[in-house]
Amino acid sequence: MTLRVLYFARLRERFGVAEEPIELAGDRVADLIALLQARGGVWAEELAAGRAFRVAVNQDIVALDAAIPDQAEVAIFPPVTGG
């Protein structure tokens, strides 16, 4: 399925990309993270197990085992620091 993937704040800067379409074979957030980790470099480093990042699917923060619907907007970002 095809996803629209967004990155914010420190992760956007480190990855050097704000938004990209991604073709995903699986249907879980964990499948997407695994695909991105496999790119190596900063991707593997920032998305390694134990690193703090958040994932939102269609603008709701979800857990790694959450399902992703086709055509979803998925965002990956650091823990939030507003307020």
Partner: protein, 156 residues
């Protein structure tokens, strides 16, 4: 609450606490309490001076997340009006960043709901701060104490 009693704004412009609070109570006499919180940009953080900060957000999700927090507060306490304003873009020390104001018949619900919304905003609303310091730019790290503050509202 009557429809339209939740106001959510994400804006680069400053806001005025007095104007917002007056707007809540203007023309009505059922409100007995308004609790408000204003967060300001500090000139120091984590042992360093801060000369400016830039707030980034996730347009679309931000408004949705703030509305969800306000809805949760309305479900939990008896509220008459909720206003949440959060600024984005470049801010200087002393500038107001965030306003939460809650109106209710009595102070207990207003105080509690105001603090709940702020604590939840700190961990669930997609904003990120980047600080300018004498050593250069740096992204602000999330604080464990914010998670602790938010989690206490989950306790039975």
């Amino acid at each position: 609450m009557k429809p339209g009693s939740i106001k959510i704004r994400v804006q680069s412009e400053p806001f005025d606490l007095g104007v917002e609070v007056n707007a809540m109570s203007n023309g009505r006499t059922d409100i007995g309490a308004i609790a408000s919180f204003v967060g300001l940009a500090r000139d120091h953080n984590d042992g360093s001076g801060v000369t400016a900060m830039t707030l980034e957000h996730y347009p679309g999700m931000t408004e949705k997340a703030l509305a969800t927090l306000a809805d949760e507060a309305c479900a939990r306490w008896t509220l008459l009006d909720v206003t949440v304003i959060h600024r984005v873009g470049r801010l200087l020390p002393g500038d107001p960043i965030v306003l939460v104001a809650v109106a209710s018949s009595h102070r207990g619900d207003a105080f509690a709901a105001c603090e709940f919304i702020m604590d939840a905003l700190k961990t669930r609303a997609p904003f990120w701060k980047k600080e300018d310091t004498p050593q250069g730019e740096r992204w602000v790290d999330a604080r464990a104490s914010d998670d602790t503050a938010a989690a206490r509202w989950d306790a039975p």
